[in-house]
Each structure stands twice: as structure tokens, then as C-alpha cells.
């Protein structure tokens, strides 16, 4: 079913991208004035090439990026907080996501419901999303309404007011969201189990949405406490993309966000994974599964390790790029064992990433037969390495992909917001093609060998209940 005239967007609201864990956090406290000295060094806007983005930092520590694109008199205004479900306290999974939902209630200046009413009255579209390391809020508006949404967004950075009853009702929404995303979907249930098996210590193994029994027990006080701790200027990144220049943005950012007092901010220290010594296997049998499938996940470098991340991005293209990679060629086209085979490297988490391989058996093909064939393809590539053509072709894809974001201010805002939230810099994005170009074939091979170790892997089998193996 399609809507041609008008796309229904509601289902995206508020959504989360992946699943994560929560363990005990340690904190170090960094006083803001210490950070301010650093900020003065970098507060001159720096200008670079692809997007012509410009960057500065407000005195209270908030980072600001303008990404000009003057195609239409429209802007995307996004506020990213460097907090996500990996910061959920132990036993309270789903809390970061709960706070995201509650952010659409009232503030000390606006009664509940007014925020969205004002955005809509100004022709704005809004939404929000939560991941492991970040939570982001955005509005798309005509450029002459930018100030309206900046005022609103700044107002809920410190001024959120939620009553207990609203919070209780919203928990019902969260549970329905969990049912839609996870409980009703066999593949999502398996993915949750795989996440838990992948991380021995780090919170990335717990689902972003939270475990059902823990969502049920989240309290209004938990949410307010979490909000007060993490929602502050020095923990936020503002991105405005579209019909805007830094000259126009700076006074507005100073007026609305700059007015918020700097706060003492604590950066959580997260646990480190111990050595992974054994390959893990999990399986889920479900009556709604048609053909068995295999998902393999390897513990990998996170986004903060940019060179390894780029090498793995390239390796993922070579091994399993959409209908062009080695897996598709071998398992789908040549040996006709699978209906689909591909890879993805998850790089939107800062501490660790994951390298995924997925393939679904053709009807009648045994899952173990498929896994043997899959491992042969991987092992051959790891042993001999990719050809020079494969490397240059993978590089071209990673490089051109980013240029297409020039056409789409929302996509550009996403790229910058995510990168800055994960600790990368504006320069890392602006010089992306050069960074990709600099990765050597040897680097790709060594990073892949280091990452695709059986001991660091979890293999998940999704099986139909009738499977006779």
C-alpha cells in the first residue's frame, strides 16, 4: 500500500536504531571551565570542502554546525545529545528512550502538548530518535521559522516538566512500541539475544528500547534524574542544515542556546570488554519463520577508531556489498544456496562496532550446508585478500555515497550530527573521500583478519519450527 500524495511519517516517531546494554557506570567529573580553555582554541569557524560546513562552540560548551544548501527556503534543525541507551542505569534499560518520549510533554514555560502544537502551526515537521550513544531531536521548517523552533528546543534542554500521570501513560506507549518493533518480530527477538551474547561486559548488548520487565518498572523520578544529568549544553551538538549561513546562525544560537548556563558535566566511563575466547551460537525457532537464516556478528572497532572503521566499511563492501559483493556472487548467483547474502558494518557506536554477515537459505537448503559455504567465502577472502579492483571499487562507493547527501539537507544533518555525537570532527566528514582514499589494501586485510575471528563472533540461527535438523 502506498501513499503517493502524502507520505505517512508517524511510524518513525520516536524510534530507535539499534539495541544496547546497561552496566554499572563509573564517572569522572570534568569541570566546564577546564573544557572552556579548549573551546576558545577551536571557536574560529573552520571551512572545508565537500559540504562547506562551518563550526563553532558556544561559551557554555555546546557545539554548533551550519551546513548550507540553498535549494529551498527550508532548514533542518537538529539537536543531538551525547547520551543514549548505553547510559541507562543497571536494571533500568529503556530509560534514555523513555526520556526521549517525555521530551514531547511540557516545560516550565509551556503546558503539555504546546511544543508540538507550535511546531505544527509553523508548518514544521518534527521527530526524535534514540540510539546507544546519542539521542536526537529535529524539526524541518521554513527558514523564517528557524528561530521559533530554536526557542522551543532550547526551552526543553533544562526546562522539562512532566507529571507522574503523563509518564505512566507514556510507558503504555513504550510497551506498545516494544511489541511492534521486537516482540511481534522473530528476527528482532533473535537480534536481541545475539546482542546480549555479543557483549560480555559493555552496555551495547542491551536493547535500546529496553527489556519489557524493566520498561514496566521505569519511574517518573528515574526519567527526571536521568534528564537533569545528561541534558546540558556541553553535552549537546546543534546542527542546522539547509538555507542557512554561519553568519545567520551564530547570533540565534547565542541568543537561545548560549543563554543556558554552563553546567558541571560528568562523562560516564563505560566498561571495557574482556578478551572474547569462544565463538557463541544462539538460535531461535519460530513458527512464523519461512526459510532458515544465519546472522553472524563479530565484535569490531567503534566509530572513534576511524581508520579501522573505514577499513571495515571497505571490507564490508567487498565481501557483501548489496548484490555485488563476494557473498552474493558465490552463495546467491553461483551456488544457488541463498536467497540473499550481504554484510553490514555497524559504525554508529563509539566504543565498539559490530561487523554483520547475513544470509537466508533457499528453500530446501540446509542451514549447515549454507554456513560451510559462507565460511569458505570469508576464509578465502581473509587469506588471499581482495583484488586491487575490488579495493578501488569499494573506495569509489564509499566516497561517492557522501556526495549524494549534498542533495538532501536532512541526510547531511544526520551525517554531521552522528559523527559529532560519536566524537568525530567536522573535518573528518569534510575530508571523508581523502580519508577513505588513504586506507591501503594491507590495512583492509589486517583489520579484517583482526576482526573476523571466530572467538569474537556470535552466530544466530533463525529457524522455522518445522526445520528437521
Amino acid at each position: 500500500m502506498k501513499v503517493f500524495f502524502k507520505q505517512v511519517q508517524k511510524e518513525n516517531y520516536p524510534y530507535n536504531t539499534y539495541f544496547a546494554d546497561c552496566l554499572k557506570k563509573l564517572f569522572i567529573t570534568a569541570f566546564l571551565f577546564a573544557a572552556l580553555t579548549l573551546i576558545h582554541f577551536i571557536s574560529n569557524p573552520l571551512k572545508a570542502n565537500i559540504f562547506n560546513s562551518q563550526y563553532f562552540v558556544l561559551e557554555n560548551g555546546m557545539q554548533v554546525v551550519a551546513i548550507p544548501n540553498h535549494r529551498a527556503p527550508v532548514v533542518t534543525h537538529m539537536l543531538w545529545y551525547k547520551v543514549g541507551s548505553a547510559d541507562d542505569p543497571i536494571g533500568k534499560s529503556g530509560l534514555a528512550h523513555f526520556v526521549e518520549h517525555l521530551m514531547f510533554k511540557g516545560t516550565d514555560k509551556l503546558p503539555s502538548g504546546e511544543f508540538s502544537r507550535i511546531v505544527a502551526e509553523n508548518g514544521g515537521q518534527e521527530n526524535a530518535f534514540t540510539s546507544w550513544d546519542y539521542t536526537a531531536y529535529f524539526q524541518r521548517v521554513a527558514r523564517d521559522r528557524l528561530e521559533v523552533v530554536m526557542k522551543l528546543e532550547a526551552g526543553r534542554m533544562r526546562g522539562l516538566v512532566v507529571n507522574e500521570q503523563e509518564a505512566g501513560t507514556e510507558k503504555g506507549v513504550l510497551l506498545e512500541e516494544r511489541s511492534t518493533r521486537t516482540d511481534n518480530q522473530p528476527a528482532a527477538l533473535l537480534s536481541e539475544q545475539m546482542g546480549s551474547a555479543q557483549f560480555l561486559r559493555h552496555p551495547y548488548g542491551t536493547p535500546i528500547i529496553g527489556w519489557r520487565h524493566e520498561i514496566e518498572n521505569l519511574s517518573h523520578e528515574d526519567a527526571i534524574k536521568f534528564y537533569k544529568k545528561f541534558y546540558s549544553p556541553a553535552n549537546a551538538v546543534l546542527i542546522v542544515s539547509g538555507d542557512i549561513t554561519i553568519k545567520e546562525l551564530r547570533p540565534l544560537a547565542e541568543k537561545y542556546y548560549g543563554a543556558i548556563s554552563p553546567l558541571e558535566f560528568s562523562t560516564p566511563i563505560r566498561p571495557i570488554e574482556p578478551p572474547h575466547r569462544s565463538a557463541r551460537k544462539v538460535s531461535l525457532i519460530h513458527e512464523r519463520v519461512v526459510n532458515p537464516s544465519i546472522t553472524r556478528s563479530y565484535l569490531a572497532a567503534g566509530a572513534s577508531d576511524l581508520n579501522d572503521a573505514l577499513a571495515l566499511g571497505l571490507f564490508a563492501e567487498i565481501l557483501g556489498g548489496a548484490s555485488t559483493g563476494r557473498l552474493y556472487k558465490s552463495l546467491v548467483e553461483k551456488n544457488t544456496l541463498a536467497t540473499w547474502a550481504g554484510t553490514s558494518y555497524q559504525s554508529d557506536t563509539k566504543d565498539y562496532g559490530r561487523f554483520f554477515i547475513y544470509c537466508e537459505a533457499l528453500s530446501g537448503v540446509r542451514i549447515l550446508e549454507l554456513e560451510i559455504a559462507l565460511d569458505m567465502v570469508i576464509e578465502e577472502l581473509l587469506l588471499k585478500g581482495p583484488s586491487k579492483e575490488e579495493v578501488s571499487s569499494a573506495k569509489a562507493r564509499l566516497q561517492t555515497g557522501i556526495y549524494l547527501a549534498l542533495d538532501n539537507p536532512y541526510a547531511a544533518a544526520q551525517i554531521f550530527g552522528r559523527a559529532l555525537s560519536l566524537g568525530l570532527t567536522v573535518n573528518d566528514i569534510e575530508t571523508w573521500p581523502d580519508r577513505v582514499e588513504a586506507i591501503t589494501r594491507t590495512q583492509i586485510i589486517s583489520t579484517a583478519r583482526k576482526t573476523l575471528r571466530k572467538e569474537g563472533s556470535v552466530t544466530g540461527y533463525l529457524l522455522p519450527s518445522k526445520e528437521d535438523e
Binding site: V3, K6, R71, R117, T169, E176, N184, E287
Partner: protein
């Protein structure tokens, strides 16, 4: 106004302004005076192109719309169009499938194909520096796809797999059952993917025939956004499309009649959350009441967080994550559809809220404030549809397919502004007959009364 460029004859017949919304709360930023100008170009080969030029962004986006869709698949070959589209990049021209897809991927060219009941859409997006190659690949795919047996059988097994998987997907089950019940033997009742039997029966020859009959110049509309001169766009479009058949041969379809009597059906499945599809008759895109209905839907269950259904079901009661309704103006009749998912013990409560909101809309229409708020949102959000070239190219084809006129972008907000409270109430009374409400629930709902077909 006409102008002659070398031997190209390019007629620029229309100009359009992308208007700015009325200012309610003026800020420091002035409304921009930028225009999205739509040019109507006729290429040397005679192809009409609606074009928006944006010199500052080095990307070209093209959308081709071919009239007719899955409803026009032959009776015992349902799914044929979808199947054929899947093969366009499985080997074409001088390239095999892998080479073709690699040629696209290495240059970051995006090539997508889509089929709905009434329409086939093919989109291409490329960096301008790769445009020669991109359009040559587009030409290969449209005019010289191979349909080799190996690829046909591989895609066939993938489609069969999709069909088998969808049989276990509650959302799809609900939607398909709703369509089948509503349309019975009308072609809209057919599944876009086809059935196991029809997909098994389709031959290479059927697929080639579909391309010959369907992808022709006489049922084509073209929308382009990009940063190159109009004559260059015309040349590229000609290079890709000239050589397609001049005339299409697409079956005729009659208008459908929505059943007079609604039903509530349950398809039992062991789920914690029931998935609900519901719907009523809607109206066609060219119906004079379309904009009144559009506003009515926005207030009842449409796209913002303010809708009555969203407020009553999600905000006040926490019964659902997602609830919405939308108009689906098909070519041979309109639909008014909605979806909600809720826990099994709340299904009957949610359905009674939906019924009572429909009833309230019929009885009382909308308030002046609601109408004003809806208009402010719908007119103010209109420019958001034009912030990427890809979206613009799609809208340009839509404007042609629905005969909205080349000035549509300038006129559209006036059409919204013109709607009165009385218009909305009239269309609500006319459209929303809750006796016709057809509901399909997939799951294990408690205490729900059903009425079979």
C-alpha cells in the same frame, strides 16, 4: 515564449514560484525569495520533461512515471510488472548483472524501480559528473535488459520467498485481506507481488512482453531536477529513452464500487499485539472535494502529532505507538485507510474510539481553531517537500500524472486556504459512513465482536 538553442527546440511554457508561508511569528531570518521554477521542456525526440534547475548542487535526479501498474497485470500473471522490474538491472546492454550493478555502485548512482496499483516509477540519481554513464545504464535497463533464464529463475525464487514470508507477516496479512475483501474480483484486489501460481507460470517471454507493452513513450511522464542546462537534460533523456516503443498496450480497468456493508474480521495469530487495518471509501485525486477531505483527514488521523486519533489513542490513553489514517486516491476509485497496533486486551476499546471519532466528525465536523491549525501546518509544511532534488523529481511526475498543472506549486496553498468549515463537514458526512467501515484484525484480540463477510 519559445527559444531556439542550436538545433534543439526547447519550449519553456510555464514558470512556477515556490511560495513562502505567511509569517506568524517573525524572526531575524527573512523569508527567502527563492523560486523553484518549473520548466516544461520538449526534447528533440519529442519527450516532454518537467524540469527544475538548481545550479549549486552537483546532482541530477530523474523520475520516470509510466501510467498503469500492478492492476494492469494480466489475469493469470499477477506480479508480472513487479517481476519484470526486478530484472532490469540483472544484465542489460553489454553488461551482465554483476557488471551492471557494479557500474552503478562504483559511481554512487542510485537506480530504483517501484510499482503500485496504477503506476510504475523508475528513478535515477547521479552525481552530475557521472551523468553520461548513468543515462547510458538507464537506457540499457529500459531497452535492452537480458531476461536470461538463470537470472529469471533466481529472481523468481526470491519473489516466491517474499510471498511465502509475507504470509507470516501480520501487517501484510491484514492489508492484503482488507484489499481482497474490498475489491473482490476487481484488479485492485490482486497482490502486487503476485501469487505462488502466477509467479511460477511467468516466462522470460512474458517479462519481455511486459516491458514492450508497458514502458512506452505514450504513457510516460518525466520529472528532473539537476544542475545542467535544459538542452543537456533533453539530450540525456533522449539518449536513454528514444528507442522505447511509441505506443503502450496497457489493459483498461473499470472503476470499483466500495462494498455498502462493512465488516470486522479477525485472523487469529498468537501475537502479544494485534495489528489492525481499517478503511472506508475515499475519493479520487481530481474530486472537487479532495482538499476538504485532505484537511478532514489531517485533523482526524493524518500526519501530525495533533490528530484526534493520535491524541485519543496514544497521548491520552497510551494504547498504541502508532495510529494514523490517510487518503489513497487510486485512479479508479479512492480509499480512506488507517492502521493501528495495540495490545490484545485493548483492541475493542481502540476500535470503539475510532468509531466514535468518525461519528463525531460526521456529526460535528471540525472547529474553527482546528481548521486554522490544519491550514497553518499544511501550507507551512508544503515547501518541505522541495528540499531535495529527488523529492522534486517525484513531485514533477506526480503533477503530470494527476493533471495538476505546471502552476500547481504556486496554486496549491490557495486550494488549501479556500476550504471552509462547511466544506470539511460536508465531505465528512458524505465520506464517513461508519456502516461501511471494514476492519481486519490480525492477532488474538479479547472480546471483539466480529461480523463475517
Amino acid at each position: 515564449m519559445a527559444c531556439l538553442l542550436k538545433n534543439w527546440c526547447i519550449f519553456i511554457l510555464g514558470v512556477c514560484v515556490l511560495g513562502n508561508a505567511v509569517i506568524f511569528e517573525p524572526g531575524n531570518l527573512m523569508a527567502s525569495n527563492q523560486f523553484a521554477q518549473v520548466d516544461r521542456i520538449v526534447s528533440p525526440g519529442g519527450i516532454e520533461i518537467w524540469y527544475v534547475k538548481e545550479p549549486s548542487i552537483p546532482v541530477i535526479s530523474v523520475t520516470l512515471g509510466f501510467r498503469g501498474g500492478s492492476a494492469n497485470d494480466p489475469v493469470n500473471r499477477s506480479g508480472l510488472g513487479n517481476f519484470a522490474l526486478a530484472l532490469l538491472d540483472e544484465g542489460a546492454g553489454s553488461l551482465d548483472g554483476i557488471e551492471f550493478r557494479r557500474a552503478l555502485a562504483d559511481r554512487g548512482i542510485s537506480f530504483s524501480k517501484d510499482i503500485s496499483h496504477d503506476l510504475v516509477s523508475i528513478s535515477l540519481q547521479t552525481l552530475t559528473k557521472h551523468s553520461e554513464k548513468a543515462f547510458s545504464l538507464l537506457g540499457f535497463a529500459l531497452k535492452d535488459a537480458h531476461f536470461e533464464v538463470e537470472a529469471v529463475n533466481r529472481i523468481r525464487s526470491q519473489i516466491l520467498n517474499v510471498i511465502a514470508e509475507k504470509k507470516h507477516n501480520p501487517r501484510i496479512i491484514a492489508g492484503q485481506r482488507w484489499y481482497q475483501d474490498t475489491f473482490q474480483n476487481h484488479p485492485y484486489g490482486r497482490v502486487i507481488d503476485g501469487t505462488e501460481e502466477s509467479i511460477k507460470a511467468i516466462t522470460s517471454n512474458d517479462l519481455k512482453m511486459w516491458v514492450n507493452r508497458h514502458l512506452a513513450l505514450d504513457n510516460l511522464v518525466v520529472g528532473v531536477a539537476g544542475n545542467i542546462p535544459a538542452n543537456e537534460i533533453a539530450r540525456l533523456i533522449d539518449s536513454a529513452l528514444i528507442g522505447l516503443n511509441i505506443s503502450s498496450s496497457v489493459s483498461r480497468i473499470k472503476d470499483f464500487k466500495f462494498p455498502d456493508k462493512g465488516h470486522t474480521q479477525i485472523i487469529q495469530m498468537p501475537l502479544t499485539q494485534s495489528v489492525v487495518a481499517f478503511g472506508l471509501p475515499g475519493l479520487k485525486r481530481n474530486d472537487p472535494d479532495f482538499y476538504a477531505a485532505y484537511i478532514m483527514n489531517h485533523i482526524l488521523g493524518g500526519g501530525s502529532f495533533s490528530s484526534r486519533l493520535y491524541q485519543e489513542i496514544r497521548e491520552k490513553r497510551g494504547l498504541a505507538y502508532s495510529v494514523y489514517s490517510y487518503l489513497l486516491p487510486l485512479k479508479h476509485g479512492g480509499l480512506y485507510l488507517g492502521n493501528v497496533s495495540t495490545r490484545n486486551d485493548a483492541v475493542s476499546q481502540v476500535l470503539s474510539i475510532i468509531r466514535s471519532e468518525i461519528h463525531k466528525m460526521v456529526e460535528m465536523g471540525v472547529s474553527e481553531e482546528e481548521l486554522l491549525a490544519a491550514k497553518k501546518y499544511l501550507t507551512g509544511a508544503f515547501p518541505l517537500r522541495f528540499d531535495s532534488g529527488f523529492k522534486i523529481s517525484k513531485i514533477l511526475t506526480h503533477m503530470q500524472l494527476e493533471s495538476l498543472g505546471i502552476n500547481y506549486l504556486r496554486e496549491r496553498n490557495n486550494l488549501i486556504e479556500r476550504v471552509t468549515q462547511k466544506d470539511v463537514h460536508y465531505v465528512a458526512k458524505h465520506l464517513l459512513n461508519s456502516k461501511q467501515l471494514h476492519v481486519v484484525v490480525v492477532g488474538n484480540p479479547d472480546n471483539l465482536e466480529t461480523s463475517g463477510l
